[in-house]
Amino acid sequence: MRVGLFVTCVADLFAPDVAEATVRVLRAAGHEVVVPPGQTCCGQPAWNSGFAAEAAQVARTTLAALAAADVDVIVAPAGSCTTMVRVFWPELFEVAGDHAAVTQATALAERFYELTELLDRFGLPPLLPVGAGREPVAYHHSCHMLRELRLEHEPERAVDAAGCERVAWSADRRCCGFGGLFSFKLPETSESMADDKLATLTESGCTEVVGADPSCLLHLRARARHEGVALRTRHVAEVLAERLVPGDGHHG
């Protein structure tokens, strides 16, 4: 398939390695990857802050870029941004009174996928065989991906296929405390929430968190570093990219 990548502003600026790994994984899975020009951000920061008109103004730009792309599907390596596009864009444009955009966004949602969702549906890339020793990781179920998109087993299957052993983590479905601007507005509570995640992670005996949302991983890592907690974080795209069969799939 021809896959259009919605990079997302967080991955573009703060986690370009995640976007790069996403491209490698998609190519290895046999897809042609294009990055539709003209895309910026999904508008979530303003939408979550109550500034719908401003969110719509930014979202309209990305909507136009993605809708115009000559691709079969669009994918984002972030559950939260995927939720914004699929679930909240139609509502956002409705609130903003832009009915043409509502129609366009609703149509786009049909062919917009979160990365592990796409891989689960259309096939994972060829991966190195899983040996005897599986890598222990704790999987963080990010909020919007779990509760809005209901994507729970899709990322788990990808992580399992990449040879990881998912350890039991009592807080695996609990918010990391980032919440976008929540962490700016109530920083003490946000830190306390991240500490709760990290403390329960320590109990599990695991020191690596894998997830499908760059922003949650960024937040947990930033807090762990500040607190001197040993923590490695990897996006599921990076986990998969490390297990690609060498020499395979570089035909993009």
């Binding site: 990079v7 502003c9 991955a11 573009d12 600026l13 703060f14 986690a15 370009p16 390695d17 976007a19 790069e20 491209v23 020009p37 003209g38 895309q39 910026t40 951000c41 920061p45 303003a46 979550n48 802050s49 109550g50 500034f51 719908a52 008109a53 401003e54 969110a55 103004q57 930014v58 730009t61 909020c143 919007h144 509760r147 479905r173 609990r174 918010c175 405390g177 980032f178 919440g179 976008g180 601007l181 962490s183 700016f184 507005k185 109530l186 920083p187 003490e188 509570t189 946000s190 830190e191 306390s192 929430m193 991240a194 709760d196 960024l218 890592r221 930033a222 807090r223 570093r225 500040h226």
Partner: protein
């Protein structure tokens, strides 16, 4: 209105103080964990829990869509059963009515069952001002009454305290001759003995009301300690204060609602006691009050009914959303600043306390993680409502914040300027569009490794053909 700790403090100050209290966080984690696990277990055994939740949502929708009629039917049937019904416009009206009853009957001691509605109106202080001795009979309520605190949880008022703190609060009541231990059984035993004597002296009993049933004019109280039953039957006069939305039309509807209330709240199949009261004691009955009054409390609810936030009135006060909320878990109920806490408090407070400007910021007390919506037995779209309240709040935002978002939107709606701001951020120069966020960004970095943009963005790498 109840003690309004919102005044004079900000949400940030209250949450920061609470999040810094390790003992509080320990108590909270233990309690909400127990409630949430209990809920998951008893909902999990149901064949079609989500189907029942959908049915419950439908019931709430039907009842609220026809609320004036349903309330009228309740009042007519209650009056026919001998109940005095009072429609209270606001908290002061409700309190004045109850104080009026207390004065008329010359009540000295008033026993109370747990009631969040009277917490909302601040009834205790009104009765005390009128010279009454007010006795909370629910163990948690009594503990916080002694400590001069407000409830920190909708169904478990003293959930923020551990047993050592509770012992310290009860010890002065026991006196120096009776040193109390810290075993919950011993503390509860002491409270039971102490409270029992009060029931027998009380002239007036005050309770809340979990549900009114319109078709028979009955009120229903769910409880676990038996104090509610004593409070409503031992004194000569009983006044129940009900939120005007706490009503169902029929017993069939109650069947499901009372079941989901217990399962979602305490993780029980049914509360230990479900008290159904239809009218005062009849001539041939041995127990019950001579007079039964029901106060139907509006207090701002009519303004919510029919508004875009009407679903807030679907709430049956089970507390399930508090128990799964990661924010509540860290800060507890007092940080929300008013009687209702957790996600539903973050929605209800800005609506019911709309004339307090500090109330609006409660909409920010959430990461929008959505755990509350999955736990809610009547599927209130709490996240959507918080977003709606944020939009309402944004309309009143200051000039700097509005200008900031406008500048952000102008920059990020054009690829070229978007790229330019990205490049500026990568070299540590945040663009002016987000200047109003600069203090937040600095504070972010004080508690975390500072945000460091990559030297080269993905788009740069892509355009250079490196990917």
């Amino acid at each position: 209105m109840a003690e309004f700790t919102l005044s004079g403090t900000t949400l940030r100050q209250r949450t920061a103080e609470a999040a810094d209290d390790e003992r509080l966080r320990r108590s909270l984690a233990k309690a909400v964990g127990r409630f949430a696990d209990g809920r998951a277990a008893v909902m999990g055994v149901l064949e079609d829990a989500d189907g029942l939740r959908a049915a419950a949502r439908r019931i709430r929708y039907d009842v609220l869509a026809d609320l004036p009629t349903v309330l009228e039917r309740f009042a007519t049937n209650a009056i026919a059963a001998g109940v005095h019904v009072h429609w209270a416009v606001d908290a002061a009206d409700a309190n004045a009515y109850v104080v009026g009853v207390a004065r008329r009957i010359g009540a000295r001691t008033v026993v109370k069952g747990k009631s969040m509605a009277t917490e909302e109106t601040g009834l205790n202080h009104a009765l005390e001002d009128a010279g009454c001795h007010v006795v909370e009979t629910d163990l948690g309520e009594w503990i916080i009454q002694l400590a001069d605190q407000t409830p920190s949880h909708i169904i478990a008022p003293a959930v923020h305290l551990d047993r050592f703190q509770i012992r310290d609060i009860l010890q002065p009541v026991a006196g120096p001759d009776r040193p109390l231990g810290t075993e919950p059984e011993e503390l509860a035993g002491f409270a039971r003995g102490d409270r029992r004597a009060e029931f027998l002296r009380a002239d007036l009993g005050v309770s809340g009301c979990n549900f009114a049933v319109a078709e028979t004019g009955s009120i229903v109280l769910a409880e676990n300690e038996g104090n509610g039953r004593l409070s409503t039957t031992a004194p000569r006069v009983h006044v129940a204060v009900m939120w005007m939305e706490s009503i169902v039309a029929t017993w069939d509807q109650l069947d499901l609602m009372i079941n989901l209330l217990a399962r979602s709240g305490t993780g029980q199949h049914l509360s230990t006691y479900t008290n159904i009261l239809t009218g005062p004691r009849r001539a041939d009955e041995g127990d019950g009050p001579d007079e039964l009054h029901v106060v139907i409390l509006d207090n701002g609810r009519s303004d919510v009914l029919g508004s875009e936030f009407h679903e807030a009135l679907d709430c049956i006060r089970c507390g399930a959303c508090l128990n799964v909320c990661p924010v509540y878990r860290q800060v507890g109920g007092h940080a929300y600043g008013w009687v209702y806490s957790g996600p539903i408090g973050a929605v209800l407070t800005p609506l019911l306390a709309a004339d307090h400007p500090e109330a609006a910021e409660l909409a920010n007390a959430s990461t929008l993680c959505g755990a509350c919506m999955d736990a809610c037995p009547v599927s209130i779209p709490l996240q959507d409502m918080l977003l709606g309240l944020r939009r309402r709040k944004a309309a009143d935002a200051g000039a700097a914040e509005r200008a900031g978002w406008k500048a952000w939107a102008a920059a990020w709606s054009r690829p070229l300027t978007y790229r330019a701001t990205m490049k500026a951020m990568a070299v540590g120069r945040p663009f002016t569009g987000v200047a109003h966020l600069a203090p937040g960004l600095k504070r972010w970095g004080d508690g975390r490794e500072p945000l460091k943009p990559a030297a080269r963005s993905f788009t740069d790498r892509w355009k250079a053909g490196e990917v």
